[in-house]
Symmetry: C2
Subunit: 246 residues, 2 copies
DNA sequence: TGTACATCAGTGAACGCGCGTTCACTGATGTAC
DNA sequence: TGTACATCAGTGAACGCGCGTTCACTGATGTAC
């Protein structure tokens, strides 16, 4: 682990980053199936076979991009979360951050949440990064539950025994003590969020609520009510950040 | 329009159908980007250029498949709708039919609701077929509204003026008189439904609620409550059909 | 500090593949008189 | 009913393209003594 070894390793790490950046840029233009190792190499001024020093195959490069995308989204959501003043604010912040990230990185979003890339199987390494956003969404729910302030807008149907079992097992892993019914609701909201974003990005809201900003914010509050997060006291979402800076 | 002309046209129509069937079968295996005109021609025992007698380009074949997929899904949903006894039953029936169809035709579903095919732009002809399922979902809501039995589980946030305008315009096109707030809720439910199905098919529920049947049915009822459809009197979803046969 | 050797990065040619689309053409099927 | 002509379906060769991956190789960078 001498200085020189580190130097070589540093160069190597930089090139890996650079390859991923170029690949991401090409992804943004072309979509996942059009992503080509040869094109990436060309843009980097290398010969195509040189890429194989860094990624053993195209699929491995794709996997790296997928993991990066999950993390980029997780980072954005986490930063927004941290800047929010209270549980409902955190909920809003994560919703908004996920959507903003998705709109700014539509192809990367599609890579992760769109149709599975044919022939590609996601390895286990993607599981943890993928869980970051849902875990963040659970956090305000858990906090309110602990504080006794979680007040679902309506009771909803009872859980069937198998669903109760699934939700209980999940709660144990992720937020011990949270009731199964609450977990089930959270999953409903989670799927709504991504369904809404996918519809917006993939063009299915054209003709109904497009542009979608207002609808998005409305759905955010609907789902927060559905979950039972108590209303924020004081200023509304956008204002929260500026209040901090004061 | 003599009999002989019709004969030739009939053969032509049959070949168009056959091409689409083969293409659909290949889609089921490979995914949209791997769909190849040459492969389709090969399977039909034709030379690849012969396809151009029937579809001017690969994109036109894709468009035809997309429209067919919307219609297949619409047909399935409509049949289920027609067999249902009351508004909530219709809601359930459509939810279930859409999911069943999606699971049975995952690649076709992905073609339509997954990532947009790179370089492909959906022409206007897809709009009406795409609207069939959402229109079916609105139907029980409209019926209950007219009957005065629509009872949302909670009031929810007020609509911002722009959202109210969008929802009102949409209601005017689609279900005149339906209040904007109801339309907005319907869209929330609609996006939840497809988000849930996409997550299930694309593997994002692995590790939470997989298998997803129980969760799906739970979400169906949650969303029906959310919308305010009155509960069904008597037997539950599965039983409705057998009751008919009795 | 200097030399012999091992490791690694990158090259360039090649393999073998499949694709969408065009074009001039041959026959067969239908139409008009 | 029969013939001349027009329409259409399908052929086969070709154009021009890009792809992922392998392999033997040259140099440069680092390591051990």
């Amino acid at each position: 682990m001498s200085a020189s070894t580190t130097a070589r390793e540093r160069v190597r790490a930089e090139l890996i980053t650079e390859i991923k950046e170029v690949a991401r840029r090409q992804l943004a233009v072309a979509g996942a199936d059009r992503l080509s190792l040869r094109a990436v190499a060309r843009e980097l001024g290398m010969v195509s076979s040189a890429i194989y020093r860094y990624f053993p195959s195209r699929d491995d490069l794709l996997t790296a991009l997928i993991i990066d995308a999950y993390h980029a989204m997780g980072d954005a959501a986490e930063a927004a979360f941290d800047a929010a003043p209270d549980p409902r604010g955190q909920w809003r912040a994560v919703y908004r951050a996920v959507r903003d990230w998705a709109r700014a990185h539509a192809r990367e979003y599609a890579l992760v949440y769109g149709s599975p890339v044919p022939g590609y199987r996601a390895p286990q390494d993607t599981v943890a990064p993928a869980a970051r956003v849902p875990l963040l969404l659970l956090e305000p729910i858990r906090a309110c539950w602990s504080a006794g302030t979680l007040a679902p807008a309506f009771e909803g149907p009872p859980l069937s025994p198998p669903l109760r079992a699934q939700a209980t097992r999940l709660a144990a892993e992720v937020s011990p003590g949270l009731p199964a019914a609450v977990v089930a609701r959270a999953i409903v909201a989670w799927t709504q969020l991504y369904g809404m974003i996918s519809f917006e990005l993939f063009g299915h809201l054209v003709g109904s609520v497009d542009p979608s900003d207002e609808f998005f914010h409305h759905a955010t509050e609907q789902m927060a009510d559905f979950i039972g997060l108590p209303p924020t006291r004081g200023p509304r979402p956008g204002a929260a950040a500026s209040r901090r800076r004061k």
